[in-house]
């Protein structure tokens, strides 16, 4: 539980998935609300805008025929009281009648109204100085009839309520959106936390898998399928780490072993020689034997240093575009006596060109060929195949020999790896030859390969061209 609390506190503190998800939910909510709110508002705005005009039209159409019909003061009185009644009933309504005769007027039109009434006919907006919102006004004209002079009839409606409705709608929309966004992000955070629960469990489980407990694996069964791939690749990475870890351990043991046998000889021989007086020849012999062991140590150390520098990413620098067949020929020239002694023939097939550091490549070729010679019986033939594969070139050294099982094949390029576990130490051959080939391939940005099929074993390197 404690670690869980720690986990969540770090989650909240950093830019966690849960926080980011809830943030994104909020953003999505904001966008959705904005879009819907805007559309809604536009729609309502359009409707509200038409409403006052419709109302004015309706009022006017009721009154129009009456105004049309009356021609004397008696009728005018009836109309005036009706207009008064209407505007008292509905406070938003206003009527003005403007004419040349004061008896045939209504609504006490001031000069502002008179000026407005003289303007064009039809639906117009009227802004009065003592009023915040404009009036929607229908200006209509009636010609003279009987005693009545021609007059202008103004039906007006105050748009204040419409504006206010619109305003409160806007406020409602905004506050709803704000609440929605807050809810979406809060719920989103909660949902994300629940959704990420398997991830938390996984990380708690993974935390237990540190050296030296590398043999454990993450369990797949209880996890959601989305994490399958992650767990699988995590487990395979863990597998590689475990392999590398154990390889490193056995490598260290191998190094110690390789150094220990010459050191044992050195210490032992020297001590034996010094326990009593010896002849000059004896001392001479001990020194010579010591020197041989020391040379062996030196050669191991130099090879280890070479491998270490390749491990540290040291690259071949003095690259020259060279014919690989020529390099193979030079190497065969060097190995000529060895090949003759072993009564082994070498056939070179194909050619290709690649940028290489000659000394390094020769060293790799010598090791590959020497390895092949050691596993070839007298009278047999070793083949060197140089192939141009387009994006890379390959040099493969093939010798007839017993099948090597697939389990050993890729590991033969590892340091000190031997197929038979007994560490037979044959002279200068200390099990680093093929490891050096691999290091040289890496230094050129290339790879190594090994095949064993149809009674032939092939070891080789691929180099970029």
């Amino acid at each position: 539980m404690c670690s869980k609390a720690v986990y969540w506190s770090t989650v909240v503190a950093s830019n966690s998935i849960a926080l980011r998800l809830s943030g994104m939910f909020a953003l999505v909510a904001l966008l959705v609300f904005l879009l819907i709110g805007w559309a809604l508002y536009l729609q309502v705005d359009k409707g509200l805008g038409l409403l006052p005009e419709a109302e004015v039209d309706a009022r006017y159409s009721v009154l129009e025929s009456q105004v049309q019909r009356f021609g004397d003061l008696e009728h005018w009185g009836k109309l005036s009281s009706k207009l008064r009644l209407l505007s008292e009933e509905d406070k938003r309504l206003r009527f003005w009648v403007v004419s040349d005769h004061p008896n045939y007027e209504f609504g006490n039109p001031d000069p502002e109204i008179r000026a407005f009434a003289k303007g064009p006919l039809g639906m117009r907006d009227l802004n009065l100085s003592d009023h915040d919102y404009p009036f929607k006004v229908l200006v209509s004209e009636f010609p003279a009839k009987d005693q009545r002079p021609p007059l202008r009839f103004l039906t007006a409606i105050d748009t204040e309520t419409f504006w206010q409705t619109q305003h409160s709608l806007l406020i409602a929309l905004i506050s709803l959106a704000a609440i929605g966004i807050a809810l979406a992000s809060a719920l989103g955070y909660w949902v994300a936390r629940i959704g990420l629960k398997p991830l938390l469990d996984l990380s708690l489980e993974a935390r237990k898998l540190t050296p030296p407990h590398l043999s454990g694996r993450l369990q797949l069964s209880s996890l959601p399928p989305e994490l399958d791939q992650f767990v699988t690749s995590f487990n395979s990475t863990l597998g590689r780490v475990e392999q590398a870890y154990s390889r490193l351990e056995s490598f260290n043991a191998d190094v110690a072993h390789e150094l220990r046998s010459p050191l044992t000889n050195l210490i032992g021989q020297t001590q034996v020689a010094l326990t009593r007086g010896r002849s000059a020849e004896h001392y001479f012999e001990v020194l010579q034997s010591n020197l041989e062991e020391l040379e062996r140590l030196r050669s191991i150390i130099n090879d280890m240093l070479f491998l270490a520098s390749a491990d540290q990413g040291s690259r071949a620098t003095e690259l020259t575009e060279s014919s690989l067949a020529e390099e193979v020929a030079t190497t065969l020239d060097y190995l000529d006596f060895i090949l003759e002694d072993a009564q082994v023939q070498v056939q070179v097939r194909g050619n290709a060109h690649a940028p290489i550091e000659k000394a390094h490549l020769r060293r790799a070729l010598i090791n590959l060929l020497h390895n092949a010679v050691q596993h070839t019986s007298p009278g047999q033939v070793i083949h060197v195949d140089i192939l141009d594969e387009g994006d890379h070139v390959s040099i493969g050294v093939t010798n007839p020999g017993a099948q090597i099982s697939g389990e050993h094949l890729p590991k033969l390029f590892e340091r000190f790896y031997r197929v038979d576990a007994s560490r037979s130490n044959s002279g200068a051959n200390h099990g680093l030859g093929l490891a050096i080939v691999k290091a040289i391939a890496l230094m050129h940005g290339g790879t190594v390969f090994a095949r064993s099929e149809h009674g032939e074993n092939t070891f080789g390197i691929n180099l970029p061209c």
Partner: protein
Amino acid sequence: MRVLIIEDEEKTADYLHRGLTEQGYTTDVAREGIEGLHMALESDYAVIILDVMLPGLDGYGVLRALRARKQTPVIMLTARENVDDRIRGLREGADDYLGKPFSFLELVARLQALTRRSGGHEPVQISIADLWIDLISRKATRAGARLDLTAKEFSLLSVLARRHGEILSKTSIAEMVWDINFDSDANVVEVAIKRLRAKLDGPFEQKLLHTIRGMGYVLESRVLEHRRGE
């Protein structure tokens, strides 16, 4: 010929001093950088052997200060086998470079190469006891009889003959005969020597090609048997 050794590691300095003295060089030893630089500037040495890691002023510092005033040949020694170190050493004016652990024979060979560079002439014919070699026509005879050598065998013989009386390591033989300058698993030099020996010494009483265990090979006429304890 005077050689200055600038090396703080006592055992190394001691054996270099003894070994080079026995090889006929007059040697001085400096145990730290500033003292070494002072000696190098004061006296004229044929070659300076300079360790990179020194107390006080390090090898690069000594080299830089020396190069400001003198062009004495310098062989750098270092425990760090690093290409960058090598490039840096050579760029700052070192004439040669040896990584520890190095073999004493290798050092002597490099020393000779550096001192020989100025002047000296290559012989055309060499004779050792009843062996006679013509380097131009690439012929060799022993007691008047022509030796039937392959081209590589002759190259090997001529390398040994040019340096007769001198122990040559397998590494330097491989470098001089095959231009291979790294250790390899293949014991090519051993096999080649065995072949050459069969043709050169096989039928003769007096052996000329000798193995010095752990060090290398030498071509010489030995009047005193057991001189080298064989």
